[in-house]
Symmetry: C2
Subunit: 406 residues, 2 copies
């Protein structure tokens, strides 16, 4: 039984330049942390990610949701979590503050993720193991599929998962091999050309063959120059992702993507405003076969559904510490699977939680095991930091979702 | 000069049943109020509207924005308000909490509206008069048109406003005549059939020929029955709007709108989730010539742009206490004008602020003077409550935006 709740406002200043992009020049990586203190002695820990200022607002909203869990048993909660999630996120006064977006949705993520963490800890298994051993019925019972009835009913979701069951065993080999990673930290926006070049060498030495560069400079020639620096350093076969972090208008994006085409980017990420489905559609059609990666700032399943329906997302970057938590992450992954679009999460959690979720997506849902973003900046603050060796995530074995903070 | 800032968390419980809809069963109408205390002795008052729980979060976020106005002169602020609005709403850490939606966008509304209120008070005129006497250049200087460059550049906005200048004088007659109203309070969700019937008679006696009924009942036969009750009570020529407050899934909406068609609704409002542009598009095409009214929960110009581009909004219900304030309200109105779609605001402000804005939209932008929602429940709390006589808003004459609370 959940005895009491504690919400922590944790902020971690970064080294100079780290985490910077075209829009966010000086982030302070921060977590609104929900702790569900169980009478078994276990503590379920859930994260929502922010960039510092306003993290307290998310904590306050998380507290509003979390207090409704006091006195409840986690197995009972999780046996019907979809209904609870729907009730929380539609609380009739609080809902006005979203609905299903912004501060309140981040708060829902924090609380939801704490529930999944406690659930796995209570069963004494890592979250990936818990999720991959649930029946399709048990998985779907954790999902709120409301407003999706024309695309994904409960029955359809179960059918999708059942159809994958016979292939799941064959895909378990990923547990031994580990899930591939890619390195986001070679090319933060404020890093000098020299530092980017040096970081590429380090990335290669660390076994990465896929890296990300921040673009969106005021002078787009700077973007082009740096993109070619990375291509040259990483070689012809490397996957190089370019991330504009919403810096461009549609017209700018149309122009600058053409300038970047010769460098052969694997994707262009967040070219413009995350709410603007139509702009992304126009852009995706114009720059094909170059692809867009979207989702870091997309707050819920409805907007992801729209992006998928518009057929403009080459990669879905749903982040379980931005949408309403693990539960909505799974829903979005099912929608993406239906549309045949890979899920490559943005990792506001630094990959701690997502290393579990991508294993589930691969094993139980049949998503391609493409690669998972790797950002090392907060490793020292986690009790069980991700282990990435030779560019590959080692499968976590500790019970829970690896989100305990020191 | 703005000497200091005060943010008030004001909540006003309603009489039983008032304000209820299919989703929000028991709202507490609330305002996050920004007070900009000027050294002239004037106080600029700006509102954001919520339904109670979480109003404190909006206050806290408003305080973050408002503190950046201390020591500044309101005329200086307003001469370049678009740039300020853009800077505030993109503050690089706080932005993560949206961007441009949810709690932080409501907070921006509160602060922005206080600026416009103080501006008008400082000039000693009602806001409608201030706005209608600004030059196109001065109006556009208050707007943040970022991410709109493929639809509405600053030059295009100025051109649109200039083209209307020669017609503006002819439209000033609305000041004498007053702006028509419609009555939302006849048919709250929790009201009995008898009370709805009785309220219709009262509405007719009060001079209204346009009313709104809340639908979205679990038993859709209840909706149909009540819609026909209103039609019978109001007569053949009355405009009757049906408001589902997001209660339906797409499939439900498709089915129930057909059931409601024989009653000839003037519009169907918020049929489903406000983020789901594609669902609205499918629905709008299916139920034409019935029309959809959208926008009560749409937080910013980008999503409105998408709704307009999708051509699924028959009426745009942008609310200046939901989007980023008066400034973004004007931007959305310009976009709607470009697409030839009427603007009929949702009035979280109870019409206090919007009575000014619809006059500006009509006189200076050439929008049709259709009607403005009227909700009387908070009248006693305002210093200068709206005056609606014979179904028509009397033009306010007090300086400012009529948002001072007792």
């Amino acid at each position: 039984m959940i005895k009491h709740i504690r919400i922590d406002d944790r902020r971690f200043p970064l080294a100079a330049g780290a985490g910077s992009d075209a829009i966010h020049k000086d982030p302070v990586y921060s977590y609104a942390v929900t702790n569900l203190v169980d009478d078994s002695g276990l503590v379920g820990v859930g994260l929502a990610f922010t960039l510092g200022e306003g993290n307290d607002l998310v904590c306050k909203a998380a507290s509003f949701y979390a207090q409704q869990l006091e006195g409840k048993d986690i197995e009972e909660i999780m046996s019907d979590f979809g209904r609870l999630s729907r009730a929380l996120s539609n609380e009739q006064q609080f809902r006005w503050l979203g609905p299903h977006k912004g501060v309140v949705q981040l708060a829902l993520a924090s609380v939801t993720n704490a529930c999944f963490d406690l659930w796995a800890k209570k069963r004494g298994v890592p979250l990936w193991k818990l999720l991959t051993t649930l029946t399709p019925e048990e998985v779907v019972a954790t999902l709120d599929l409301s407003y999706l009835d024309e695309e994904l009913t409960e029955e359809q979701a179960k059918t999708m998962l059942r159809a994958q069951q016979e292939h799941a065993n064959g895909r378990m080999s990923i547990i031994e091999k580990g899930y591939p990673g890619y390195d986001t930290s070679i090319g933060w926006f404020n890093y000098s050309d020299d530092k980017v070049k040096e970081n590429c060498k380090k990335a290669i030495d660390a076994g990465f063959n896929a890296v990300k560069l921040k673009v969106g400079s005021e002078d787009s020639q700077r973007d082009v120059r740096r993109a070619h620096i990375v291509r040259e350093a990483m070689g012809h076969d490397a996957k190089i992702m370019l991330d504009a972090n919403q810096q461009w208008t549609l017209n700018q994006a149309l122009r600058i993507c053409e300038m970047l085409r010769p460098m052969n980017p694997y994707w262009i990420e967040e070219p413009t405003h995350p709410d603007d489905v139509f702009a992304h559609k126009v852009l995706a059609d114009a720059i094909a076969p170059m692809k867009l990666a979207l989702g870091e700032h997309v707050p819920n399943r409805l907007i992801f559904k729209n992006y998928l329906q518009a057929k403009c997302a080459g990669f879905i970057q749903v982040d379980a510490v931005r949408v309403g938590g693990v539960s909505e992450f799974i829903t979005v992954s099912l929608l993406a699977k239906k549309y045949g679009v890979p899920v490559v999460p943005h990792v506001g959690d630094m990959g701690q939680l997502h290393q579990h979720l991508v294993l589930f997506n691969h094993i139980s849902m049949g998503h391609e095991a493409l690669f998972l973003e790797h950002i090392p900046h907060l490793q020292k603050h986690f009790v069980h930091p991700v282990i990435v060796k030779n560019g590959v995530y080692e499968t976590p074995q500790e019970p829970g979702s690896s989100c305990d903070l020191k």
